[in-house]
Protein backbone atom coordinates (compact mmCIF):
# COMPACT_ATOMS: atom_id res chain seq x y z
CA UNK A 1 0.00 0.00 0.00
CA UNK A 2 1.38 3.41 -0.95
CA UNK A 3 1.47 6.13 1.62
CA UNK A 4 -0.96 9.04 1.32
CA UNK A 5 1.85 11.53 1.54
CA UNK A 6 5.51 11.03 0.94
CA UNK A 7 8.29 13.58 0.93
CA UNK A 8 11.63 12.58 -0.52
CA UNK A 9 14.78 14.57 0.22
CA UNK A 10 12.73 17.73 0.41
CA UNK A 11 14.84 20.82 0.52
CA UNK A 12 14.13 24.55 0.56
CA UNK A 13 16.76 27.25 0.47
CA UNK A 14 16.14 30.97 0.82
CA UNK A 15 19.30 32.62 -0.41
CA UNK A 16 22.08 31.31 1.81
CA UNK A 17 19.90 29.84 4.52
CA UNK A 18 18.51 26.35 4.25
CA UNK A 19 15.07 26.36 5.81
CA UNK A 20 14.36 22.69 5.12
CA UNK A 21 17.32 20.37 4.79
CA UNK A 22 16.79 17.04 2.97
CA UNK A 23 13.74 15.91 4.88
CA UNK A 24 12.14 12.57 4.02
CA UNK A 25 9.07 11.02 5.56
CA UNK A 26 5.94 9.17 4.64
CA UNK A 27 2.51 9.25 6.19
CA UNK A 28 0.31 6.15 5.87
CA UNK A 29 -3.36 6.42 4.97
CA UNK A 30 -5.66 7.50 7.77
CA UNK A 31 -2.98 8.39 10.27
CA UNK A 32 -2.32 11.51 12.27
CA UNK A 33 1.18 12.81 11.66
CA UNK A 34 2.62 15.79 13.51
CA UNK A 35 5.67 17.90 12.90
CA UNK A 36 6.80 19.37 16.21
CA UNK A 37 9.44 22.02 16.51
CA UNK A 38 10.28 25.46 17.83
CA UNK A 39 9.25 28.46 15.74
CA UNK A 40 11.57 29.05 12.82
CA UNK A 41 12.57 25.38 12.54
CA UNK A 42 11.14 25.09 9.03
CA UNK A 43 7.93 23.24 9.76
CA UNK A 44 5.69 25.89 8.20
CA UNK A 45 7.92 25.84 5.12
CA UNK A 46 7.32 22.09 4.70
CA UNK A 47 3.61 22.58 5.05
CA UNK A 48 3.49 25.40 2.50
CA UNK A 49 5.47 23.29 0.06
CA UNK A 50 2.99 20.44 0.43
CA UNK A 51 0.08 22.85 -0.08
CA UNK A 52 1.81 24.33 -3.15
CA UNK A 53 2.45 27.87 -1.89
CA UNK A 54 6.21 27.37 -2.07
CA UNK A 55 8.32 25.52 -4.61
CA UNK A 56 10.86 23.10 -3.12
CA UNK A 57 14.48 23.79 -4.11
CA UNK A 58 15.05 20.08 -4.35
CA UNK A 59 13.34 16.78 -3.68
CA UNK A 60 9.87 15.51 -4.41
CA UNK A 61 6.40 15.44 -2.84
CA UNK A 62 4.17 12.47 -3.65
CA UNK A 63 0.50 12.21 -2.85
CA UNK A 64 -0.96 8.73 -3.26
CA UNK A 65 2.24 7.84 -5.07
CA UNK A 66 2.07 10.67 -7.64
CA UNK A 67 4.35 13.67 -7.70
CA UNK A 68 2.43 16.91 -7.22
CA UNK A 69 5.27 19.35 -7.88
CA UNK A 70 3.73 20.46 -11.16
CA UNK A 71 0.23 20.69 -9.76
CA UNK A 72 -1.04 24.19 -8.87
CA UNK A 73 -2.23 24.70 -5.27
CA UNK A 74 -5.87 24.94 -6.32
CA UNK A 75 -5.65 21.56 -8.06
CA UNK A 76 -3.82 19.61 -5.36
CA UNK A 77 -5.74 16.94 -3.47
CA UNK A 78 -4.62 18.48 -0.19
CA UNK A 79 -6.44 21.12 1.82
CA UNK A 80 -5.22 23.29 4.60
CA UNK A 81 -6.57 24.61 7.88
CA UNK A 82 -4.70 27.88 8.24
CA UNK A 83 -3.12 29.22 11.38
CA UNK A 84 -5.72 31.93 11.78
CA UNK A 85 -8.27 29.69 10.07
CA UNK A 86 -8.78 32.09 7.14
CA UNK A 87 -12.54 31.73 7.18
CA UNK A 88 -13.98 34.12 4.60
CA UNK A 89 -15.50 36.97 6.62
CA UNK A 90 -17.51 38.16 3.64
CA UNK A 91 -19.53 34.92 3.47
CA UNK A 92 -21.79 33.14 5.91
CA UNK A 93 -20.93 29.71 7.34
CA UNK A 94 -22.75 27.71 4.68
CA UNK A 95 -21.05 29.65 1.89
CA UNK A 96 -17.70 29.13 3.54
CA UNK A 97 -18.17 25.38 3.68
CA UNK A 98 -19.69 25.28 0.21
CA UNK A 99 -16.94 27.40 -1.32
CA UNK A 100 -14.78 24.52 -2.53
CA UNK A 101 -17.79 22.60 -3.80
CA UNK A 102 -18.90 25.60 -5.85
CA UNK A 103 -15.41 25.76 -7.34
CA UNK A 104 -15.73 22.11 -8.28
CA UNK A 105 -18.90 23.01 -10.18
CA UNK A 106 -21.31 21.04 -8.04
CA UNK A 107 -25.06 21.73 -8.30
CA UNK A 108 -26.73 24.03 -5.79
CA UNK A 109 -28.99 21.40 -4.24
CA UNK A 110 -26.16 18.96 -3.83
CA UNK A 111 -23.94 21.62 -2.26
CA UNK A 112 -26.55 22.55 0.30
CA UNK A 113 -27.09 18.87 1.13
CA UNK A 114 -23.37 18.32 1.61
CA UNK A 115 -22.99 21.47 3.68
CA UNK A 116 -25.81 20.39 6.01
CA UNK A 117 -24.24 16.98 6.28
CA UNK A 118 -20.88 18.51 7.21
CA UNK A 119 -22.48 20.81 9.80
CA UNK A 120 -24.16 17.77 11.38
CA UNK A 121 -20.91 15.95 11.41
CA UNK A 122 -19.07 18.68 13.30
CA UNK A 123 -21.97 18.95 15.73
CA UNK A 124 -23.15 22.40 14.66
CA UNK A 125 -26.36 21.76 12.73
CA UNK A 126 -28.41 24.74 11.58
CA UNK A 127 -25.77 27.45 11.86
CA UNK A 128 -25.29 27.80 8.09
CA UNK A 129 -26.85 31.25 7.87
CA UNK A 130 -24.70 32.75 10.62
CA UNK A 131 -21.80 35.07 10.04
CA UNK A 132 -18.24 34.05 10.75
CA UNK A 133 -17.73 36.53 13.57
CA UNK A 134 -20.81 35.27 15.41
CA UNK A 135 -19.09 31.96 16.18
CA UNK A 136 -16.89 31.11 19.13
CA UNK A 137 -13.26 30.15 18.67
CA UNK A 138 -13.97 26.43 18.93
CA UNK A 139 -16.87 26.63 16.49
CA UNK A 140 -14.77 28.49 13.95
CA UNK A 141 -12.17 25.79 14.30
CA UNK A 142 -14.65 23.07 13.44
CA UNK A 143 -16.07 25.06 10.52
CA UNK A 144 -12.56 25.51 9.12
CA UNK A 145 -12.05 21.76 9.23
CA UNK A 146 -15.48 21.04 7.74
CA UNK A 147 -14.75 23.50 4.92
CA UNK A 148 -11.82 21.32 3.91
CA UNK A 149 -13.35 17.94 4.66
CA UNK A 150 -16.36 18.40 2.33
CA UNK A 151 -13.82 18.28 -0.50
CA UNK A 152 -12.64 14.84 0.68
CA UNK A 153 -8.93 15.65 0.37
CA UNK A 154 -6.32 12.91 0.44
CA UNK A 155 -4.39 14.84 3.04
CA UNK A 156 -5.51 17.57 5.43
CA UNK A 157 -2.82 20.00 6.54
CA UNK A 158 -3.26 21.83 9.83
CA UNK A 159 -0.99 24.80 10.58
CA UNK A 160 -1.04 25.33 14.38
CA UNK A 161 -4.78 25.90 14.31
CA UNK A 162 -5.16 25.77 18.09
CA UNK A 163 -2.63 28.53 18.73
CA UNK A 164 -5.21 31.30 19.01
CA UNK A 165 -7.46 29.49 21.49
CA UNK A 166 -7.36 29.85 25.25
CA UNK A 167 -5.94 27.05 27.35
CA UNK A 168 -9.16 25.30 28.41
CA UNK A 169 -10.59 25.31 24.92
CA UNK A 170 -7.29 24.11 23.52
CA UNK A 171 -7.38 21.08 25.80
CA UNK A 172 -10.89 20.24 24.60
CA UNK A 173 -10.12 20.82 20.94
CA UNK A 174 -7.20 18.38 21.13
CA UNK A 175 -9.56 15.58 21.99
CA UNK A 176 -12.10 16.79 19.48
CA UNK A 177 -9.61 17.04 16.62
CA UNK A 178 -8.45 13.50 17.24
CA UNK A 179 -12.07 12.34 17.22
CA UNK A 180 -12.80 14.23 14.00
CA UNK A 181 -9.77 12.70 12.39
CA UNK A 182 -10.85 9.17 13.10
CA UNK A 183 -14.45 10.00 12.15
CA UNK A 184 -13.37 11.32 8.74
CA UNK A 185 -10.66 8.66 8.46
CA UNK A 186 -8.47 11.13 6.60
CA UNK A 187 -4.74 11.58 6.80
CA UNK A 188 -3.91 14.62 8.95
CA UNK A 189 -0.59 16.39 8.89
CA UNK A 190 -0.39 18.73 11.84
CA UNK A 191 2.31 21.21 12.66
CA UNK A 192 2.79 22.76 16.05
CA UNK A 193 5.33 24.05 18.52
CA UNK A 194 3.21 22.80 21.42
CA UNK A 195 4.44 19.37 22.42
CA UNK A 196 1.33 18.42 24.33
CA UNK A 197 -0.81 18.92 21.20
CA UNK A 198 1.50 16.67 19.25
CA UNK A 199 1.84 14.03 21.98
CA UNK A 200 -1.89 13.75 22.65
CA UNK A 201 -3.17 13.57 19.08
CA UNK A 202 -0.56 12.00 16.88
CA UNK A 203 0.11 8.49 15.69
CA UNK A 204 3.54 9.62 14.63
CA UNK A 205 5.52 12.71 15.43
CA UNK A 206 8.54 14.21 13.72
CA UNK A 207 10.60 16.49 15.93
CA UNK A 208 12.17 19.17 13.78
CA UNK A 209 15.05 21.50 14.51
CA UNK A 210 16.97 23.86 12.25
CA UNK A 211 15.51 22.41 9.06
CA UNK A 212 16.13 18.76 9.91
CA UNK A 213 14.10 15.97 11.41
CA UNK A 214 15.74 14.95 14.69
CA UNK A 215 13.56 11.94 15.29
CA UNK A 216 10.38 10.41 13.92
CA UNK A 217 8.40 8.11 16.15
CA UNK A 218 5.43 7.60 18.41
CA UNK A 219 4.79 9.86 21.36
CA UNK A 220 6.17 7.15 23.67
CA UNK A 221 9.37 6.80 21.68
CA UNK A 222 10.04 10.50 21.82
CA UNK A 223 9.29 10.73 25.49
CA UNK A 224 11.08 7.70 26.83
CA UNK A 225 13.69 7.01 24.17
CA UNK A 226 14.79 10.31 22.69
CA UNK A 227 17.37 9.86 19.94
CA UNK A 228 19.06 13.19 20.39
CA UNK A 229 19.77 15.69 23.10
CA UNK A 230 17.50 18.15 21.32
CA UNK A 231 14.54 15.79 21.50
CA UNK A 232 15.28 14.97 25.14
CA UNK A 233 15.35 18.64 25.97
CA UNK A 234 12.43 19.73 23.79
CA UNK A 235 9.89 17.03 24.58
CA UNK A 236 8.80 17.10 28.21
CA UNK A 237 10.74 18.71 31.07
CA UNK A 238 14.15 17.51 32.17
CA UNK A 239 16.87 18.17 34.64
CA UNK A 240 19.96 18.59 32.55
CA UNK A 241 23.56 18.29 33.62
CA UNK A 242 26.74 18.49 31.62
CA UNK A 243 29.76 16.51 32.69
CA UNK A 244 32.71 14.35 31.76
CA UNK A 245 32.48 10.54 31.46
CA UNK A 246 34.54 8.95 34.26
CA UNK A 247 33.58 5.29 33.97
CA UNK A 248 32.03 3.02 31.33
CA UNK A 249 30.31 -0.21 32.30
CA UNK A 250 28.34 -1.88 29.48
CA UNK A 251 25.17 0.14 28.97
CA UNK A 252 25.77 2.21 32.08
CA UNK A 253 28.21 4.95 32.71
CA UNK A 254 29.31 7.33 35.37
CA UNK A 255 30.15 10.92 34.96
CA UNK A 256 31.12 13.91 37.00
CA UNK A 257 29.09 17.02 36.37
CA UNK A 258 30.76 20.38 35.82
CA UNK A 259 29.78 21.30 39.38
CA UNK A 260 31.31 18.11 40.71
CA UNK A 261 28.19 16.01 41.21
CA UNK A 262 28.64 12.29 40.48
CA UNK A 263 25.87 10.96 38.19
CA UNK A 264 25.01 7.57 36.71
CA UNK A 265 23.20 7.22 33.45
CA UNK A 266 22.42 4.95 30.50
CA UNK A 267 24.01 5.02 27.04
CA UNK A 268 21.06 3.38 25.20
CA UNK A 269 23.33 2.20 22.41
CA UNK A 270 25.00 5.52 21.62
CA UNK A 271 28.76 5.79 21.43
CA UNK A 272 30.42 7.56 24.30
CA UNK A 273 34.05 7.20 25.37
CA UNK A 274 35.88 7.80 28.57
CA UNK A 275 36.65 11.49 29.02
CA UNK A 276 33.95 12.63 26.60
CA UNK A 277 31.81 15.59 27.56
CA UNK A 278 28.19 14.43 27.80
CA UNK A 279 24.76 15.74 28.74
CA UNK A 280 22.50 13.81 31.06
CA UNK A 281 18.74 14.34 31.01
CA UNK A 282 16.58 13.20 33.92
CA UNK A 283 12.84 13.85 33.98
CA UNK A 284 11.49 15.34 37.23
CA UNK A 285 8.85 12.62 37.39
CA UNK A 286 11.51 9.90 37.20
CA UNK A 287 13.03 11.13 40.45
CA UNK A 288 11.64 9.69 43.68
CA UNK A 289 11.52 11.72 46.84
CA UNK A 290 11.66 10.25 50.37
CA UNK A 291 11.89 11.31 54.01
CA UNK A 292 14.31 8.50 54.87
CA UNK A 293 17.43 7.65 52.99
CA UNK A 294 16.73 3.91 53.26
CA UNK A 295 13.59 4.14 51.09
CA UNK A 296 15.83 4.94 48.12
CA UNK A 297 18.47 2.28 48.59
CA UNK A 298 17.59 0.52 45.33
CA UNK A 299 18.46 3.58 43.20
CA UNK A 300 21.99 4.07 41.99
CA UNK A 301 21.66 7.86 42.06
CA UNK A 302 21.02 9.19 45.54
CA UNK A 303 21.21 12.70 46.86
CA UNK A 304 20.22 14.53 50.01
CA UNK A 305 19.25 18.15 50.19
CA UNK A 306 16.94 20.90 51.31
CA UNK A 307 13.79 22.15 49.63
CA UNK A 308 14.43 25.66 48.28
CA UNK A 309 11.15 26.24 46.41
CA UNK A 310 7.71 24.72 46.41
CA UNK A 311 5.95 24.97 43.04
CA UNK A 312 2.38 23.94 43.72
CA UNK A 313 0.51 23.19 40.49
CA UNK A 314 -2.11 20.59 41.40
CA UNK A 315 -1.24 17.24 39.92
CA UNK A 316 2.02 18.54 38.49
CA UNK A 317 3.39 20.02 41.72
CA UNK A 318 7.14 20.16 42.08
CA UNK A 319 9.88 21.04 44.47
CA UNK A 320 13.35 22.30 43.80
CA UNK A 321 15.94 20.63 45.97
CA UNK A 322 19.41 22.05 46.60
CA UNK A 323 21.88 19.26 47.30
CA UNK A 324 23.70 19.29 50.61
CA UNK A 325 26.96 18.90 48.77
CA UNK A 326 26.32 22.21 47.09
CA UNK A 327 26.52 20.76 43.59
CA UNK A 328 23.35 22.26 42.29
CA UNK A 329 19.59 22.17 42.19
CA UNK A 330 17.26 19.35 41.10
CA UNK A 331 13.62 19.60 40.04
CA UNK A 332 11.53 16.77 41.44
CA UNK A 333 7.86 15.93 40.90
CA UNK A 334 5.83 15.27 44.02
CA UNK A 335 3.85 12.05 44.10
CA UNK A 336 0.10 12.67 43.98
CA UNK A 337 -0.62 10.62 47.08
CA UNK A 338 -0.32 13.74 49.20
CA UNK A 339 2.23 12.26 51.55
CA UNK A 340 4.57 15.17 50.92
CA UNK A 341 1.90 17.83 51.33
CA UNK A 342 3.59 18.97 54.54
CA UNK A 343 6.88 19.89 52.88
CA UNK A 344 7.98 23.43 53.56
CA UNK A 345 10.88 25.51 52.42
CA UNK A 346 13.99 24.19 54.15
CA UNK A 347 12.70 20.65 54.75
CA UNK A 348 15.34 17.97 54.54
CA UNK A 349 14.59 15.42 51.83
CA UNK A 350 16.29 12.58 50.01
CA UNK A 351 15.97 11.98 46.31
CA UNK A 352 17.02 9.20 43.98
CA UNK A 353 16.55 7.73 40.50
CA UNK A 354 17.67 4.73 38.47
CA UNK A 355 20.50 5.16 36.02
CA UNK A 356 18.25 3.91 33.18
CA UNK A 357 16.28 7.18 33.58
CA UNK A 358 19.36 9.22 32.89
CA UNK A 359 19.62 9.60 29.11
CA UNK A 360 23.15 10.49 28.10
CA UNK A 361 24.20 12.18 24.89
CA UNK A 362 27.55 13.32 23.67
CA UNK A 363 27.58 17.07 24.18
CA UNK A 364 27.55 19.12 21.03
CA UNK A 365 30.49 21.40 20.70
CA UNK A 366 29.21 24.78 21.64
Amino acid sequence: MTADLECIDLEKRFGDTTAVDRVSFSVPQGSFFSILGPSGCGKTTIMRMIAGFLDPSDGDILIKGKSVLDVAPNKRPVNMVFQHLALFPMMNIADNIGYGLRRAGMGKAEISRKVDEALDRIGLPGIGARKVDELSGGQKQRVAIARCMVLEPDVLLLDEPLGALDLKLRERMKVELKALQSAFDTTFVYITHDQSEALVMSDNIAVMNEGRFEQVGTARDLYYRPDTAFVAGFVGDSNRWRGRVTKLDGQNLELQSDTGMPLRGAIQGRTLNLGDVADVFVRPEAIKIAHAKDDLSHFDNQLSGKVTSLLFNGAASRVIVATDTGHGEVEVNLPQSGEFADLVKGSDVHIGWGSDHGNCFAAEAS
Partner: protein, 283 residues
Protein backbone atom coordinates in the same frame (compact mmCIF):
# COMPACT_ATOMS: atom_id res chain seq x y z
CA UNK B 1 -2.90 36.28 -7.02
CA UNK B 2 -0.23 36.81 -4.42
CA UNK B 3 3.46 35.90 -4.73
CA UNK B 4 2.88 32.50 -3.09
CA UNK B 5 0.43 31.45 -5.80
CA UNK B 6 2.34 30.32 -8.88
CA UNK B 7 1.38 32.28 -12.02
CA UNK B 8 2.42 31.93 -15.65
CA UNK B 9 5.41 34.15 -16.34
CA UNK B 10 3.71 36.31 -18.95
CA UNK B 11 0.91 37.16 -16.51
CA UNK B 12 3.38 38.46 -13.93
CA UNK B 13 5.32 40.30 -16.62
CA UNK B 14 2.18 41.93 -18.01
CA UNK B 15 1.10 42.93 -14.52
CA UNK B 16 4.45 44.53 -13.74
CA UNK B 17 4.38 46.32 -17.10
CA UNK B 18 0.94 47.70 -16.31
CA UNK B 19 2.04 49.04 -12.94
CA UNK B 20 5.12 50.60 -14.52
CA UNK B 21 2.96 52.25 -17.16
CA UNK B 22 0.72 53.60 -14.41
CA UNK B 23 3.63 55.29 -12.72
CA UNK B 24 4.77 56.78 -16.02
CA UNK B 25 1.25 58.17 -16.39
CA UNK B 26 1.49 59.65 -12.89
CA UNK B 27 4.90 61.19 -13.40
CA UNK B 28 4.63 62.47 -16.98
CA UNK B 29 2.71 65.75 -16.41
CA UNK B 30 4.90 66.71 -13.49
CA UNK B 31 8.09 65.95 -15.39
CA UNK B 32 7.15 68.08 -18.38
CA UNK B 33 6.13 70.95 -16.11
CA UNK B 34 9.49 70.76 -14.37
CA UNK B 35 11.57 70.39 -17.55
CA UNK B 36 10.01 73.32 -19.40
CA UNK B 37 10.75 75.63 -16.49
CA UNK B 38 14.27 75.68 -17.94
CA UNK B 39 13.33 76.25 -21.58
CA UNK B 40 14.92 79.37 -23.03
CA UNK B 41 11.75 80.31 -24.87
CA UNK B 42 8.57 82.31 -24.40
CA UNK B 43 6.43 79.19 -24.47
CA UNK B 44 6.49 76.08 -22.31
CA UNK B 45 6.51 73.79 -25.32
CA UNK B 46 8.79 72.25 -27.90
CA UNK B 47 11.09 73.03 -29.62
CA UNK B 48 13.70 73.08 -26.89
CA UNK B 49 15.57 76.38 -27.17
CA UNK B 50 18.26 75.65 -24.65
CA UNK B 51 18.72 75.69 -20.91
CA UNK B 52 18.19 78.79 -18.81
CA UNK B 53 17.71 79.87 -15.19
CA UNK B 54 16.04 83.06 -16.36
CA UNK B 55 12.53 81.94 -15.44
CA UNK B 56 13.68 81.85 -11.85
CA UNK B 57 16.21 84.69 -11.60
CA UNK B 58 15.73 86.76 -14.76
CA UNK B 59 15.05 90.43 -14.09
CA UNK B 60 14.56 91.91 -17.57
CA UNK B 61 11.72 91.69 -20.01
CA UNK B 62 10.67 89.48 -21.64
CA UNK B 63 12.10 86.99 -19.16
CA UNK B 64 11.15 88.05 -15.67
CA UNK B 65 11.83 85.22 -13.27
CA UNK B 66 9.75 84.17 -10.29
CA UNK B 67 11.96 85.97 -7.84
CA UNK B 68 11.48 89.29 -9.58
CA UNK B 69 7.80 88.98 -10.39
CA UNK B 70 5.98 90.99 -7.79
CA UNK B 71 2.50 89.67 -8.56
CA UNK B 72 3.49 86.04 -8.07
CA UNK B 73 5.54 86.74 -4.97
CA UNK B 74 2.71 88.57 -3.25
CA UNK B 75 0.29 85.80 -4.25
CA UNK B 76 2.60 83.28 -2.60
CA UNK B 77 2.64 85.46 0.50
CA UNK B 78 -1.16 85.62 0.51
CA UNK B 79 -1.41 81.85 0.14
CA UNK B 80 1.00 81.23 2.99
CA UNK B 81 -0.87 83.64 5.25
CA UNK B 82 -4.24 82.08 4.44
CA UNK B 83 -2.89 78.55 4.83
CA UNK B 84 -1.32 79.34 8.21
CA UNK B 85 -4.51 80.79 9.63
CA UNK B 86 -6.70 78.03 8.19
CA UNK B 87 -4.40 75.29 9.50
CA UNK B 88 -4.15 76.77 12.97
CA UNK B 89 -7.92 77.17 13.19
CA UNK B 90 -8.75 73.75 11.87
CA UNK B 91 -6.19 71.96 14.01
CA UNK B 92 -7.61 73.68 17.06
CA UNK B 93 -11.23 72.88 16.27
CA UNK B 94 -10.20 69.43 15.02
CA UNK B 95 -8.68 68.73 18.38
CA UNK B 96 -11.67 69.87 20.38
CA UNK B 97 -13.86 67.76 18.09
CA UNK B 98 -11.64 64.71 18.52
CA UNK B 99 -11.88 64.99 22.31
CA UNK B 100 -15.60 65.57 22.12
CA UNK B 101 -16.27 62.44 20.09
CA UNK B 102 -13.72 60.31 21.92
CA UNK B 103 -14.33 61.28 25.54
CA UNK B 104 -18.01 62.07 25.82
CA UNK B 105 -21.18 60.13 25.26
CA UNK B 106 -24.24 62.26 24.73
CA UNK B 107 -27.53 62.15 22.93
CA UNK B 108 -27.30 62.92 19.22
CA UNK B 109 -23.59 62.20 19.15
CA UNK B 110 -23.67 59.84 16.21
CA UNK B 111 -25.88 62.25 14.27
CA UNK B 112 -23.42 65.02 15.02
CA UNK B 113 -20.58 62.80 13.83
CA UNK B 114 -22.31 62.26 10.48
CA UNK B 115 -22.95 66.00 10.20
CA UNK B 116 -19.28 66.59 10.94
CA UNK B 117 -18.38 64.35 7.96
CA UNK B 118 -20.75 66.09 5.56
CA UNK B 119 -18.37 68.85 4.39
CA UNK B 120 -16.39 66.08 2.69
CA UNK B 121 -19.31 65.22 0.42
CA UNK B 122 -20.39 68.76 -0.42
CA UNK B 123 -18.89 70.02 -3.68
CA UNK B 124 -16.36 72.74 -2.94
CA UNK B 125 -18.01 75.21 -5.24
CA UNK B 126 -21.34 74.79 -3.41
CA UNK B 127 -19.59 75.37 -0.09
CA UNK B 128 -18.14 78.51 -1.64
CA UNK B 129 -21.43 79.96 -2.88
CA UNK B 130 -23.30 79.15 0.31
CA UNK B 131 -20.78 81.00 2.43
CA UNK B 132 -20.75 83.84 -0.10
CA UNK B 133 -24.55 84.12 -0.05
CA UNK B 134 -24.88 83.89 3.71
CA UNK B 135 -22.08 86.30 4.52
CA UNK B 136 -23.37 88.93 2.15
CA UNK B 137 -26.85 88.57 3.64
CA UNK B 138 -25.37 89.18 7.08
CA UNK B 139 -23.29 92.08 5.77
CA UNK B 140 -26.32 93.64 4.07
CA UNK B 141 -28.40 93.13 7.18
CA UNK B 142 -25.78 94.89 9.31
CA UNK B 143 -25.60 97.76 6.84
CA UNK B 144 -29.35 98.17 6.52
CA UNK B 145 -30.03 97.79 10.22
CA UNK B 146 -27.08 99.48 11.91
CA UNK B 147 -25.18 101.15 9.07
CA UNK B 148 -22.11 99.09 9.95
CA UNK B 149 -19.99 97.97 7.06
CA UNK B 150 -18.11 94.80 7.92
CA UNK B 151 -15.40 94.48 5.33
CA UNK B 152 -14.58 90.91 6.48
CA UNK B 153 -17.92 89.66 5.23
CA UNK B 154 -17.34 90.82 1.67
CA UNK B 155 -15.43 88.57 -0.77
CA UNK B 156 -11.82 88.62 0.30
CA UNK B 157 -9.26 86.82 2.40
CA UNK B 158 -11.46 86.42 5.47
CA UNK B 159 -14.15 84.66 3.48
CA UNK B 160 -11.54 82.53 1.75
CA UNK B 161 -10.24 81.53 5.17
CA UNK B 162 -13.71 80.67 6.45
CA UNK B 163 -14.55 78.74 3.29
CA UNK B 164 -11.43 76.61 3.45
CA UNK B 165 -11.73 76.16 7.19
CA UNK B 166 -15.28 74.84 6.75
CA UNK B 167 -14.15 71.58 5.14
CA UNK B 168 -10.49 71.28 6.19
CA UNK B 169 -11.66 71.05 9.80
CA UNK B 170 -13.29 67.71 9.01
CA UNK B 171 -9.97 66.35 7.76
CA UNK B 172 -8.14 67.64 10.83
CA UNK B 173 -10.76 66.06 13.08
CA UNK B 174 -10.34 62.69 11.37
CA UNK B 175 -6.53 62.76 11.52
CA UNK B 176 -6.37 63.76 15.20
CA UNK B 177 -9.34 61.57 16.15
CA UNK B 178 -7.69 58.49 14.64
CA UNK B 179 -4.66 58.90 16.88
CA UNK B 180 -6.69 59.74 19.97
CA UNK B 181 -8.63 56.54 19.36
CA UNK B 182 -5.41 54.57 19.71
CA UNK B 183 -4.45 56.33 22.91
CA UNK B 184 -4.34 54.07 25.96
CA UNK B 185 -6.61 55.71 28.53
CA UNK B 186 -4.82 53.98 31.39
CA UNK B 187 -1.82 56.27 30.76
CA UNK B 188 -3.99 59.21 31.74
CA UNK B 189 -5.31 57.28 34.71
CA UNK B 190 -1.75 56.56 35.74
CA UNK B 191 -1.01 60.28 35.66
CA UNK B 192 -4.08 60.96 37.80
CA UNK B 193 -2.98 58.20 40.13
CA UNK B 194 0.42 59.84 40.45
CA UNK B 195 -1.17 63.07 41.57
CA UNK B 196 -1.83 65.07 38.41
CA UNK B 197 -5.08 66.98 37.98
CA UNK B 198 -7.31 66.19 34.99
CA UNK B 199 -6.12 69.06 32.84
CA UNK B 200 -2.51 68.53 33.87
CA UNK B 201 -2.81 64.87 32.91
CA UNK B 202 -4.08 65.82 29.46
CA UNK B 203 -1.43 68.51 29.05
CA UNK B 204 1.47 66.33 30.16
CA UNK B 205 0.45 62.92 28.80
CA UNK B 206 -2.26 63.09 26.15
CA UNK B 207 -1.21 66.18 24.23
CA UNK B 208 2.42 65.07 23.77
CA UNK B 209 1.06 61.77 22.49
CA UNK B 210 -1.16 63.64 20.04
CA UNK B 211 1.61 65.96 18.86
CA UNK B 212 2.56 63.95 15.75
CA UNK B 213 -1.08 63.82 14.67
CA UNK B 214 -1.46 67.53 15.27
CA UNK B 215 1.62 68.31 13.21
CA UNK B 216 0.41 65.90 10.55
CA UNK B 217 -3.01 67.53 10.52
CA UNK B 218 -1.38 70.95 10.30
CA UNK B 219 0.73 69.98 7.30
CA UNK B 220 -2.19 68.33 5.52
CA UNK B 221 -4.38 71.34 6.25
CA UNK B 222 -1.67 73.68 5.05
CA UNK B 223 -1.29 71.85 1.75
CA UNK B 224 -5.03 71.52 1.22
CA UNK B 225 -5.50 75.21 1.84
CA UNK B 226 -2.54 76.11 -0.36
CA UNK B 227 -3.85 74.18 -3.32
CA UNK B 228 -7.55 74.78 -2.81
CA UNK B 229 -9.20 76.16 -5.89
CA UNK B 230 -12.96 75.62 -6.05
CA UNK B 231 -14.05 77.15 -2.77
CA UNK B 232 -11.49 79.94 -3.01
CA UNK B 233 -12.60 80.85 -6.53
CA UNK B 234 -16.07 81.81 -5.29
CA UNK B 235 -14.89 83.80 -2.29
CA UNK B 236 -11.79 85.60 -3.51
CA UNK B 237 -11.58 89.36 -3.51
CA UNK B 238 -8.79 91.57 -4.81
CA UNK B 239 -5.80 89.79 -3.18
CA UNK B 240 -5.62 86.49 -5.04
CA UNK B 241 -3.90 83.51 -3.47
CA UNK B 242 -1.38 81.72 -5.68
CA UNK B 243 -3.68 79.15 -7.31
CA UNK B 244 -6.11 81.85 -8.40
CA UNK B 245 -3.32 84.14 -9.58
CA UNK B 246 -1.81 81.33 -11.64
CA UNK B 247 -5.20 80.42 -13.03
CA UNK B 248 -5.75 83.98 -14.23
CA UNK B 249 -2.36 83.99 -15.94
CA UNK B 250 -2.90 80.57 -17.45
CA UNK B 251 -6.12 81.81 -19.04
CA UNK B 252 -4.17 84.60 -20.75
CA UNK B 253 -1.59 82.19 -22.13
CA UNK B 254 1.23 80.47 -20.40
CA UNK B 255 4.92 81.28 -20.23
CA UNK B 256 7.62 79.14 -18.62
CA UNK B 257 7.28 81.46 -15.64
CA UNK B 258 4.33 79.33 -14.57
CA UNK B 259 6.49 76.23 -14.94
CA UNK B 260 9.06 77.79 -12.68
CA UNK B 261 6.43 78.61 -10.04
CA UNK B 262 5.05 75.09 -10.34
CA UNK B 263 8.48 73.56 -9.91
CA UNK B 264 9.02 75.63 -6.78
CA UNK B 265 5.65 74.42 -5.50
CA UNK B 266 6.63 70.81 -6.15
CA UNK B 267 9.93 71.22 -4.36
CA UNK B 268 8.24 73.03 -1.50
CA UNK B 269 5.54 70.49 -0.91
CA UNK B 270 7.93 67.56 -1.31
CA UNK B 271 10.08 69.08 1.41
CA UNK B 272 7.05 69.51 3.63
CA UNK B 273 6.02 65.91 2.99
CA UNK B 274 9.53 64.70 3.71
CA UNK B 275 9.72 66.65 6.95
CA UNK B 276 6.43 65.14 8.01
CA UNK B 277 7.49 61.59 7.16
CA UNK B 278 10.79 61.96 8.99
CA UNK B 279 9.00 63.41 11.97
CA UNK B 280 6.46 60.60 12.09
CA UNK B 281 9.15 57.96 11.72
CA UNK B 282 10.79 59.34 14.83
CA UNK B 283 7.75 59.16 17.05
Amino acid sequence: MIPSIPQPRFVTAAYTAYVTLFFVFLALPLIVVAVFAFNDSQFPSLPWEGFTWNWFFGSERPMIGVFHERGILSAIGTSVLVAMIVSAMSVFVGMTNAFLFNRYKFRGQSLLYVLMLLPLVIPGIVLGISILVFSSRVANGLWDGFSIDVEALRPGLWLVILGQFSFITTIATLVIGARLQKFDRTLEEAALNLGAGRLTAIRTVTLPYLAPAMIGAFVVAFLMSFENFNTTLMLVGSDAPLTIAMFDRLKEGSTPLLNAVSLLLMVGSSCLALVMIVFQRKS
